[in-house]
Symmetry: C2
Subunit: 351 residues, 2 copies
Amino acid sequence: MNPGPREEEGLKTNQRITITEVALRDGSHAINHQYTADQVISIAKALDEANVPYIEISHGDGLAGSSLQYGLSRTNEMELIEAAVSVCTASKIGVLLLPGIGTIRHLNEAAKLGIGMARIATHVTEADISAQHIARSKELGLHTVGFLMMSHMAPPRLLAEQAKLMESYGADTVYVVDSAGALLPHQVTERIRALTQSLSVPVGFHGHNNLSLAMGNTLAAIEAGATWIDGSVRCLGAGAGNTQTEVLVAVLDRLGIETGIDVYKIMDLAEEIVAPILLKPQEITRGSLILGYAGVYSSFLLHAERAAEKFGLDARDILLEIGRHKAVGGQEDMIMSVAAELAKGKREAPV
Amino acid sequence: MNPGPREEEGLKTNQRITITEVALRDGSHAINHQYTADQVISIAKALDEANVPYIEISHGDGLAGSSLQYGLSRTNEMELIEAAVSVCTASKIGVLLLPGIGTIRHLNEAAKLGIGMARIATHVTEADISAQHIARSKELGLHTVGFLMMSHMAPPRLLAEQAKLMESYGADTVYVVDSAGALLPHQVTERIRALTQSLSVPVGFHGHNNLSLAMGNTLAAIEAGATWIDGSVRCLGAGAGNTQTEVLVAVLDRLGIETGIDVYKIMDLAEEIVAPILLKPQEITRGSLILGYAGVYSSFLLHAERAAEKFGLDARDILLEIGRHKAVGGQEDMIMSVAAELAKGKREAPV
């Protein structure tokens, strides 16, 4: 291809950025976990041809996420992983594992299929539950990533302490994960800096677009020293989706930052292979915006809407209150009691 | 409404930001200039209720843009302006005027209908053609904005010189306009700083989302001192659309920056009134991405695709070459000759 336009100024970085494509994992949320083996094969093959270093494949909530609670996968994820491994020559396949949802057994099973990376994900304040899984992943010879979800809920120093724990367990890379798309660029800068200053291993960033800042935050992360970055082709991911990979590759090319990925090929696969399978456009709707604004998990939205109806409230007021309580995944029960409290306050002091 | 979550840190700014909503002008590109009077009335009324300071209404290419070349408007823009003025109590209506497309006569006509703002737009290196229109707008008692389009094509110093010209003609505000969505955050910072350092009047920023950076660039602009910002509800605008207004208002609220706009009302009108009239989702497609990557006008895309077919080239190679030539609107003819040159080079030195 014709070399693209380069900037004279550029970011103050000369790192090479390693991109992990998450459309086949985080993106499965956006298509209700309905990936077929044929779809995964054609997407993985095209990503491999575009020279994407890592491709993550799992249920949206990680290995063994397929369930009534998190949504049933159409195709067994091990089948999808095996199919992708078989068609990739350059790209390595990775998996996501949330201890408590997936287990060491699932990790072993995926390792046998030939994956090259495992990402062990915990809530930002719960890194300690990742010790065994990180250790096992290392034993299996995998590139092992610590993945700190809902990173907006911890101030930079606490986040760095948790990251340090994951590093001590053996993680090769630790990620700041903006699960709710709630971080603002200066907050990303502070968090990535806190990690790069206290860790010896590389630092990564995973962004969501609920506040239309996935790309802006990603550039802030890179400028602050992050060298591992997640992207999702055509923005396919939970909430408003992730940092759009083909756009990211073009932007980094403009900045003269190496990713090793072919700009035209990644644009083409986004348009020709991924876009046609979207169930709905990845726009920022009122629903995804309020999740980023309140800083809460997307699974809370439906619960809040139900509680709002029951108590005659605006679901947004409930979500903002839940965000202030720093509720974590699994605490959906809290929503009804928060709504009841809000309704009581409203009756006592009508505005 | 429930006050949203505030940040302890925040941007280093305590300016109040004045937002201009452009969905009824730039957004007309996204719906092929098919706005009806009823649609404009319902949108303007809702924007007025949400307390948006300025609403721009014109053909996408400014007053008198309705033509075979730029696309025919379904409804006469003067009728739309008159209808919007009649339903707004807080919001002021503004118009865009590109000298050469619109004339003083159109400006006079719009002024008679009760508008409060006129924005005089020129290519970034052609501010001198705005002198008469800016002067007339001032005589009419309008808030008068100089609007420097394709600002990515001029380095900061040249951009500041052009802005200074507009200020000398009487402009009350001068905008850096990223028409092609081609600027990166550090380039926005440099440009806004150059203007705030050399002008006495406020500086504005108008972003496009072709590189997924409309919001990131807008925050960079505000941090660098811009106080007038354009947004478009539900991203409705040319290319990949503009900075999404309802998201921007939520983000600025999180930062503790005042806009005077009601966060819930602007979210609601985006979802309930604007989203249903979209002809297609405002995603970043291969087409809009390449425009931002190459830094060219959206009108060049179709011409490049035709030339690519004729000469057996990739349209992207042509657009990147056109971007290097810094071609401006109206220079679509250049595309065939650039394509012919590229095809010749390809034959002589096959890759």
